[in-house]
Assembly symmetry: C2
Homo-oligomer: 302 residues x 2
């Protein structure tokens, strides 16, 4: 699992502060999460193989999270993309994008499929044999979801040293063994699966939570995630602003990370009023130890 931070600042794009966008490579799936203005240039700067992106998840319809989407879609068209592209985001996103494509008379060269979200409960919005993706309903000024990306366990591995000792096991039995089944010999003896196979590689998960006020009822959804990105627009000195703006402080992000027992917390969506980002880490650390700061171009490899 590899997470590349493209942009991680709040509100207006500035020369060295890009709005939210992240590229996630997980179990061979290439995913874009949020797409603020300028994301396509950041994808090029970070040398992301962005033609491979097949799924884009938009948390909410504030400009700093989606104004770059229509440009990216247009660019895919100009590059003569043929692979289908799936967009997941709040209801309304389809109308916004298609109106712009229509007025510019630039229909896409590839199937563009929208999956509009409306539910206020967590729901599974994507699932295949490698990956499961669910929404994390958040508390913001407009309808907003975080997303939980979970690797699915791969098959067990054959323990060939032991398998080779049993002449009755044939190649056509391997599939069942990898799927965890015991082996029954001709004489009825049962060879237990755990003696014939090794466990699959560990699975990882990534929880993306931006933008939101402090919302402890997301904790059961993101419990034990490998990696949690949680917004921290403010420090506690501006806690009074979180009520009206529906954002969190770094301390609150730390609290969520602690309650959810995640392995690592990444902070981001910093307000432009703060110049020293280390203050966010320091504040979150009062609640949770393993804290990292999102920065444009930073890559987290699990």
């Amino acid at each position: 699992m590899q997470l590349t931070i493209l942009g991680c600042h709040s509100a207006t794009p500035r020369t060295n502060a890009h709005p939210t966008a992240q590229y996630l490579k997980i179990n061979e799936r290439h995913i874009l999460i949020d797409c603020g203005e300028g994301t396509q240039v950041l994808l090029r700067q970070q040398k992301v193989p962005f033609a491979k992106i097949k799924h884009i998840f938009i948390s909410h319809l504030h400009g700093d999270h989606f104004f770059g989407l229509v440009g990216l879609i247009s660019t895919f068209g100009l590059l003569d993309r043929r692979t289908e592209l799936h967009i997941y985001g709040p209801k309304g996103i389809k109308e916004i994008i298609t109106l712009q494509l229509k007025l510019s008379k630039s229909w896409t060269s590839f199937p563009l499929l929208f999956h509009e979200l409306e539910s206020k409960e967590s729901e599974v919005i994507f699932e295949d044999k490698k990956l499961k993706i669910s929404t994390i309903p958040l508390d913001h000024r407009v309808y907003t979801n975080g997303f939980l990306f979970e690797e699915k366990p791969s098959l067990r591995k054959l323990n060939m040293e032991n398998v080779a000792m049993e002449p009755e096991i044939e190649i056509c039995d391997y599939h069942n063994l990898k799927n965890g089944k015991d082996f029954v010999k001709q004489d009825g003896t049962i060879l237990e699966n755990k003696d014939l196979t090794l466990p699959p590689k560990d699975t990882h998960s990534y929880a993306f939570c931006s933008d939101t006020a402090y919302k402890p009822d997301i904790v059961p959804i993101i419990k034990n995630a490998t990696l949690l990105y949680h917004e921290s627009t403010f420090l506690e000195d501006k806690k009074s602003l979180t009520e009206r703006t529906k954002h969190s402080t770094a301390k609150e992000a730390g609290k969520i990370a602690k309650q959810a027992n995640v392995q690592k917390l990444i902070l981001g969506h910093y307000s432009s009023r703060y110049s020293n980002l280390e203050d966010f880490r320091t504040e979150a650390k009062t609640e949770f130890t393993n804290v990292e700061l999102a920065e444009s171009g930073k890559v987290f490899i699990i």
Copy 2:
């Protein structure tokens, strides 16, 4: 008159190639022409006092000319702008912008006024005592206008050396003199205006023409312009592409400049297939001498 090139490349934004946007300061008016994705960051980079921009002109609804507009408008809102902002552009632009503002629940803090264009004939779309702005109907795949910005002549200047010699002329007569009127003395003698005043400073004009196929019938509209920006997406080696794409070659831009007898031609909107931009200048120079290349950050001062 001062023209700052923000972006001047065609199609997709890339790390060092920004789509069309120009900032024009003319007779104390601050104007933005086109607004590709990333324009607000370029305005900051070039240290343009962008809060002063009161008029934005959008040539057409292709993404590389307007995808940055909604972001700029949102940023004005976040910066708590109060001054009114006028947007001139093709019919449909109001719907695109207001839909996005509506869905993000972010109404502007300032009056946002749309002037939608539909006419296929040149028309005056703005006029005050300092400036006149007309459309230049262009020939592109979608409805497109260029824009002609013309300074209006200022008042004549008093020739104080001569005025001071005439005791009958009082301060309250100055206004009439500046407006070109002769002075009539008590005894009926006429003092001619040309002996009492000096001509006003020269006026300048700027013609912006992007995107368009070669269209000689714009020549009468832009005749004798001080500065002409004319797109040159291709060189003559790709002339066959201009028919389908409705773009021009550098040679064709040079032809327009020559026929219109402008003082200076600026080329831009280069296709990404060309790496040496000097080739554009060389080609245009076969038709017209005074050719400049648009580049991000370049400033033309007249």
